[in-house]
Symmetry: C2
Subunit: 339 residues, 2 copies
């Protein structure tokens, strides 16, 4: 219990303390955001805000996860190592992208195919890992009905698509000050609760290894949650720093990692519905544009820009997303807890 | 489980639907806020925003608590009736205040002594009720140490002060757009979790009545949480409607009611630390002012106005309070859950 609280509070404080040192440093390195020409006009003033702030979250979470690792070493099935692997590797793709943007001052970063290739490798590897994991396997929980759905060998290709989808969704949602960090603080609390519920169930069945595993997953989720809240100190409107692809892809990896290790990718579609909406709105917009030869269904995609151009302020949209995520997260946790 | 989710989602949707009907109605009745002359200058533009929006929360919570009441009727020890009683009675004092302000256009409302007299009656009655309640009594939990402290007969006077303090704290915190509603959504989630943890403990001991009682308390907390998130739709910056004393005192009563019925008033000082800070800052400011014959320790009290005059925007302060409450709430729930 002390470890859990230490992960949450420690990550929060660590990011709070790092901020005032790291932000001027990144600014000096000219790691400023080159604002995407196609975003809303009002965003042009954000030009020059440092990116890669996500590195603070990455450092805090990695450090605390390893330091506070609960007891027994479980080798290759250790959930905390798996979670760190999938989120750090996703982060590396984003980091490469940010680095190229910042150094070469091109806003495109990596080419889309370079990104996708890297992500496919990570996605397939992590899905195969989960498939083979003795506490995970090919069955996933169906929300609200307390039955499981066995995907068999199709687990690997399907879940690979899910990983790809979620990591890029997190990247797409990261378009308003404080949006992704706020939504992450809310939903990660839910993922920590999910892991703790599975820990308690394992405890009743006296499965000592599963107890340690789920405890370590909860610890990771709490560290991400605390770090995201600390980061909000600097990232809330008006933002002094951005997550960058570095931070958003780390968060995407962390979310999809938690969901898959707790066998709850279908709950993820609920709890992280705003992430799904971010990606889907981009896809729908493109298809509609092609089919209608130039018409748009949203004023701009991802959908948070649509709300922005519809007259909502950035802070209103953040609060709206947070409430929506809160309702869905609490409902999902209740349905798992009180089954 | 379905009842819990229905309380949360139902209250949220009910307030969302009520808003567009109730706000123009209150505006037509000229129930606009007369902005306190002593607040920050920038708040003068809020003149005329309707108050008593809290009535939407009150209606949604009362209706859903009664409709979704889980099963067996427990008579006078029914926690949901006790929670409704303490929060509705506290609300009535606030309502009288709002009504006088709105109709007579005096910003003072009730005289301080009228308010306090009404609140003392409620506070003593509720404390005595808890003292006699077979599932509550005079023992309170000490946070993090899993021991209880028996206050004996001193429970009644001490807890009466706590009720008075918290109801007025909620009223004091309600000074920035969306502040109290946001903090309430976060901390009420924690109180629902506390009640559910006690429900599970009672379930293991096969205490059927306690299970029903705590379930009903959790249901109430979830309804308040959902209603507060729905209210945020209209109350977030720039606010179209205020909670008014009606809403803030209802929330104060709900918080202190949850804390006392789960025997956790000491956890409340943590989870609702921002409420405590709001009151304490006013008290410290007044004492310092008297002792130093006219000096001020904060630029303005309650402390959220101090932050405002220190250069933070309203939305920054709301997000700051929400993160702080989130960290403390998660830590408190973890310490109770994993004891």
């Amino acid at each position: 219990m002390i470890r859990m609280i230490a992960a949450l509070v420690g990550a929060w404080l660590l990011v709070l303390f790092m901020g005032p040192k790291v932000i001027p440093f990144l600014r000096k390195l000219h790691f400023g955001q080159t604002i995407y020409d196609l975003g809303p006009q009002s965003h042009q003033k954000k030009q020059g805000t440092p990116v890669m702030g996500g590195l603070m979250i990455v450092c805090a979470v990695t450090l605390l996860s390893l330091l506070l690792h609960p007891g027994a070493y479980l080798g290759k099935w250790d959930m905390i190592l798996a979670l760190l692997a999938v989120s750090l590797l996703s982060m590396l793709v984003g980091f490469a992208d940010d680095y190229i943007k910042a150094v070469k001052k091109r806003h495109e970063g990596l080419t889309p195919w370079q990104k996708i290739a890297g992500q496919i490798v990570i996605a397939v590897a992590f899905s195969a890992y989960c498939y083979l994991h003795p506490m995970v396997g090919s069955k996933i929980d169906i929300p609200f009905f307390h039955v499981q759905w066995d995907l068999g060998i199709f687990y690997i290709p399907l879940m690979s698509l899910v990983v790809l989808f979620m990591v890029n969704s997190a990247n797409l949602q990261d378009g308003l000050d404080g949006l992704l960090s706020t939504v992450t603080s809310v939903s990660m609390t839910g993922w920590a609760a999910m892991a703790l519920i599975m820990m308690q169930a394992a405890n009743e069945l006296h499965q000592a290894e599963a107890v340690t595993s789920y405890a370590s997953a909860a610890l990771f989720a709490l560290a991400v949650c605390g770090a995201a809240m600390g980061f909000l100190r600097f990232n809330r409107y008006p933002a002094k720093i951005f997550l960058g692809d570095t931070g958003s892809m780390f968060i995407g990896g962390a979310v999809v990692g938690m969901a898959m290790l707790t066998r709850k990718p279908l709950y993820m579609l609920l709890m992280n519905a705003t992430l799904v909406a971010s990606s889907l709105s981009v896809i729908i917009q493109r298809i509609y544009f092609k089919v209608t030869h130039g018409k748009r269904i949203f004023k701009m995609s991802p959908i948070h820009h649509h709300f922005e151009l519809s007259g909502y302020t950035e802070t209103q949209i953040v609060s709206m997303y947070a409430c929506f995520t809160g309702i869905l997260t609490i409902a999902s946790v209740l349905s798992t807890w009180l089954n």
